[in-house]
Amino acid sequence: MNIAFVIDALVTVIGVTTPILLAATGELVVEKSGVLNLGVEGMMLIGAVTGFAVALNYGESLGDWAPWAGVIGAAVAGAAASMLFGVLVLTLGSNQVATGLALAIFGIGLSSLIGASYVGMVIQPFNQTFPDWLAADPIGRVAFGHSPLVYIALVVVVAVGYFLNHTRAGLILRAVGENDVSAHSIGYPVIAIRYAAVAFGGALAGIAGSYFSMVITPMWAEQMTAGRGWIALALVVFSSWRAGRLLVGAYFFGILMTLELYAKASGFSFLPSQFWAAMPYIMAVAVLAVMSARDVAGAEAPACLGRPFMPNN
């Protein structure tokens, strides 16, 4: 095993980890506020197609800024999609599991509909943050050779961890997720806070989706997020709702997914390639089992997770 191989592998790990880290960080905030949004996959796809469409259509007029416009577009689209979920779940008190699934199905359909005319087109990949000379040598490439979204993901997860644990607003958000009735009775706007959390989760899922269509493969393909949205949901459970563990867990899953890619490409595997493709999902179930068994009292999950709250109006 030589250095170049290790460098390649590390770069791949960072690449595949970034979207699940972004999406899971968003979902962490949503779940901390007591809402379970299973529609991550759908919001990611809507973000993916929107980011691509914006970057493609404004590629000429905006030049270097087009990818940034794409990312912002993806965030706005993801947040807008999440508001559909928000109105149903928060204002109309609908079942969160079913509504989240509806959002996932809707996102898959809508993104295919919008994306139908973009199939086969290519944009400039959004994969450079620092000047070339910084990323020239192998070590530099690991540190500096990535898309801006990679660094944004790291900043966001740290910021969310700080927000949740060290700010007053974060404390209020957690209070809403732990005991909505009490939070309501001492005057916090439970529903408004949950709307904000859901929108934030949608925006990050949208950005996560744009990573697929603007960085990994700078083109659009139907269902290109390939179930990573569901992995992000498992990751939140894996993290036991803590930002630090979320970061570690995301890289753990990233390594697993990289193994799959390498097993497929090199043929060194003695196990069938399908085994490696199934590996992240098998591991997701395994970690769910370990984390749930440890948390027998259910103490780590936000107490109001998934429970509708209907204040009297």
């Binding site: 599991v97 009735v181 199934a278 179930v285 769910l288 209907m310």
Partner: protein, 365 residues
């Protein structure tokens, strides 16, 4: 003047029937407007999607063929949903059921008589689906793993099992290197439709199952226990209904139904298993379950409506050139409407004239 919500003591019967119908109609209306806005002939697209499959007799076979697996899977899912046990992974159980049935077919001599081959494959299919749902059931009852995520993860694992088997050990040696199994023998297949009719064999089974599920939910203690576990877990415990037995039974029944749907589809429609076998019925059945308001008769009708949108989606694709994804959007929109209107079943809308008079009474749902 403003609108106030008052919780109903019992869910409204009228609303339970009216809201699904309204959801379908609103979906059609919204669909027409959106298609018009994005540059298609809106009314025509809706006509082709929702009406053509019903009025054109040559589409009836297609509709009933698609309705059969949707109804069979959704009957099982509805039972679990009543207990608030969410089996999201019917698609995986459907695939594994079909593979198990195919395994039984390949294990027996190809000329085994039909009266042995067909029941053996069907039983294997049901057991396959149950086995795939058993792992999440075990994880849920032993380790408290949420079945929502585990059943879903097993869909992705099932897809890889399928890819492995049809591309490896079970690959058709005469299949021009396509990833597909050899065809089932004539004694291992069911006809597309019952000869002389437009009714596929799976649809007959779906009809019989609808009746059985109605008896089970409306007329048995078991059905009552499932509803109680869902509506009032502590009352169910007090009444002696075991929650973990409900988890097991509902997941076994829904997994078995999905497996049954899978092997029936393989035996009567494809005659083999190939890459295109997983067609999303397991996911669409979730919509069927909610659109049918978890009631066996409602599920039967909802299965027909969703089947119409599948067939109609293809009609509209060729006639009005709307993209293929259209059917999925209609299906999701219908689910959005039905979930949104759920509030009308549980609450009464009151128009309050004097806002100062409303006394705040907490109604945590």
């Amino acid at each position: 003047m403003r609108i106030r919500l008052e919780k109903r003591l019992t869910p409204s019967r009228i609303m339970q029937v009216a809201t699904p119908i309204a959801s379908v109609l609103l979906t059609m209306l919204l669909g027409a407007v959106i298609f018009e806005l994005i540059g298609f002939d809106g009314p025509d697209a809706i006509w082709q999607t929702f009406i053509t499959p019903i009025v054109a007799p040559y589409k009836w076979v297609d509709v009933l063929t698609k309705a059969a697996p949707l109804i069979i899977i959704a009957q099982g899912l509805s039972l679990g949903n009543q207990a608030k046990i969410w089996n999201i992974g019917a698609e995986g159980q459907y695939v594994i059921g079909a593979l198990a049935g195919a395994g039984a077919a390949f294990a027996m001599p190809a000329d085994a008589p039909s009266f042995i081959a067909i029941p053996a494959m069907i039983v294997a299919g049901i057991l396959g689906g149950m086995a795939w749902a058993a792992i999440p059931a075990l994880l849920k009852t032993r380790l408290r793993v949420s079945e929502v995520l585990s059943t879903l993860m097993f869909v992705y694992i099932a897809m890889q099992v399928l890819n492995y088997l049809i591309g490896g050990p079970w690959k058709d040696p005469n299949g021009h290197n396509f990833p597909q199994t050899p065809p089932f023998s004539p004694t291992q297949t069911l006809p597309h439709v019952i000869p002389g009719t437009v009714i596929p064999p799976g649809f007959v089974i779906a009809g019989v199952l609808t009746l059985l599920f109605w008896l089970l939910t409306a007329r048995s203690v078991y059905g009552f226990s499932v509803r109680t576990v869902g509506a009032a877990p502590s009352a169910a415990r007090y009444g002696g209904f075991d929650a973990s037995r409900t988890v097991w039974s509902t997941l076994m029944i829904s997994g078995g139904m999905a497996g049954l749907a899978g092997i029936l589809e393989a035996m009567s429609q494809l005659g083999q298993i190939n890459l295109g076998f997983p067609s999303g019925y397991g996911f669409t059945a979730i919509i069927v379950s909610f659109l049918g308001r978890l009631h066996p008769i409602g599920v039967f009708l909802a299965g027909l409506i969703l089947a119409v949108t599948y067939v109609g989606g293809q009609v509209a694709q060729t006639a009005v050139h709307v993209p293929e994804a259209t059917a999925g959007i209609f299906q999701a929109t219908m689910l959005f409407f039905i979930l949104a209107s759920d509030i009308l079943v549980r609450y009464r809308l009151r128009i309050v004239r004097d806002p100062r008079r409303t006394a705040p009474v907490g109604v945590p749902a």
